[in-house]
């Protein structure tokens, strides 16, 4: 399935300042959109706007050439959001958390066990999430992303709190995803070396 994400003339005003104006991009399968810039430059705001959490002053975002506003649910069904706060419940175990996420996307058909093994978190399944380290919690969030099995990945500063092994893991997963025809939007304030088509947007 050929998917495409494009945007034109995006303008965002937050409070007093205009974060960006007239921004546009196009993203095809296998491509990575890299948002670069200092902290507070608007990378997270742009991602949140793409995901539909922030309203833009002007401009539109198109998924498969149809405006996202006309197909909110389909668009949300095609993306997954990885943020700094994992959005997982600390009181619940890994299994309980991921089962909840799977219940919200019942069409996903990915092998649960295999994903946990791959990310090295299989032995942590019965522990409440708050007893895991930040890095381990991030891996659980990655598991959620893999289990969702969707074309578009939105990753906001995915490398924070991760050691070198963790960073390499994310790069590997991203490369695989792109090689399988997926798309990725990543916000990072450090440079990212990857073996795929990269579009850079500097804010």
């Amino acid at each position: 399935m050929t998917a495409k994400l494009s945007a034109n003339d995006l303008t965002l005003i937050r409070g007093e300042s205009c974060l960006f104006q007239g921004l546009g991009f196009a993203l095809n399968p296998g491509e990575l959109l890299l948002l670069e810039g200092q902290n507070g430059s608007g990378k997270t705001s742009l991602m949140r706007a793409i995901a539909g959490m922030l309203s833009l002053e002007s401009g539109e975002i198109l998924w498969n050439d149809i405006p996202v506003d006309e197909q909110r649910q389909e668009f949300h069904g095609a993306l997954v959001w990885l943020a700094h706060r994992t959005g997982l419940k600390g009181d619940l175990t890994l299994v309980e958390n991921l089962h909840f996420e799977a219940a919200l996307r019942p069409q996903a058909n990915v092998d649960f066990e295999a994903v946990c093994e791959r990310l090295g978190i299989a032995r942590l399944r019965s522990l409440p999430l708050r007893s895991l380290s930040a890095g381990q919690q991030r891996r659980v969030a990655l598991a959620r992303m893999l289990l969702a099995d969707v074309p578009l990945w939105l990753m906001d500063e995915p490398f924070t709190n991760l050691d070198r092994e963790g960073r390499a893991l994310i790069m590997r997963l991203t490369e695989e995803h792109l090689a399988n025809g997926g798309m990725c939007i990543m916000a990072a304030h450090q440079d990212v070396e990857i073996d795929s088509t990269v579009t850079r947007v500097s804010l």
Partner: protein, 232 residues
């Protein structure tokens, strides 16, 4: 592996999933369930201590006191409806979920009612007995509290959504919900009083039921809109 999986999940799938999750969370922290209950019992206990134990006064003020206590207890518990989700980032995840947000919100509100509203209904006969309420009036009390707490949870979710993450949100939440909760209190408490006075009380029950149905169908949309705005 069996029948083909449908592309779009059924509309109640998300509702049930999120309600189960919230109930599971409450199960792991029983204190959250017991707090509103204790508060309810406490207020009901304080009144006779303050105004005297005369039987006549108790019977007369029973419906009102029990209802006000239930209202205050629900108000207190509403603050936590979206608070933990806001803090750990799950709220963001709900906002980008393929499930419609009003459905998810309704699921959370139902779970919240089961945790904080339903226990009040179940424990009310015990407290009503201390107010010398006859058994048939107790039945009316439970029915009004059942409908009323449903209304309060739904209407309160709108206020909770508007004030999520705000500094001193609890006080503001109470102020916002108070005008919404007043008709519920009026209808509920006075219906029980009518029943206690052996008068016709059906009007109040119907009105509460209508209010509950209206809240059930409309409040989730308002709450979802408010959540999106608060989270911008």
């Amino acid at each position: 592996m069996g029948a083909p999986i449908p592309q779009q999940p059924g509309i109640f799938v998300g509702l049930i999933a999120i309600a189960r999750r919230d109930l599971l969370l409450a199960w792991k922290r029983p204190g959250d369930v017991l707090n509103p209950l204790f508060f309810f019992a406490m207020v009901c206990t304080l009144f006779p201590l303050a105004v005297g134990p005369s039987a006549e006064q108790l019977t007369f003020s029973g419906p009102g006191v029990l209802w006000v206590a239930a209202l205050l207890s629900t108000l207190l518990s509403l603050n936590g409806l979206f608070m933990s989700d806001h803090e750990d980032g799950s709220l963001d995840q709900l906002l980008v979920s393929p499930q419609p947000l009003p459905v998810l919100v309704l699921g959370k509100t139902i779970a919240h009612w089961i945790i904080s509203g339903l226990p009040l209904v179940l424990i009310s006969p015990l407290l009503a007995m201390t107010y010398r309420m006859p058994a048939d009036v107790m039945g009316v009390l439970m029915l009004t509290l059942l409908l009323g707490t449903v209304c309060l949870s739904l209407l309160g979710s709108i206020g909770a959504a508007l004030t999520v993450g705000l500094h001193r949100g609890t006080a503001l939440l109470s102020l916002l919900i108070l005008p919404l909760a007043m008709p519920v209190l009026l209808l509920g408490a006075n219906t029980v009083s009518l029943a206690a006075g052996n008068e016709v009380y059906a009007t109040g029950i119907w009105a509460l039921g209508a209010y509950a149905v209206a809240a059930l169908s409309l409040a989730p949309y308002a709450t979802a809109a408010a959540l999106r705005i608060s989270n911008e």
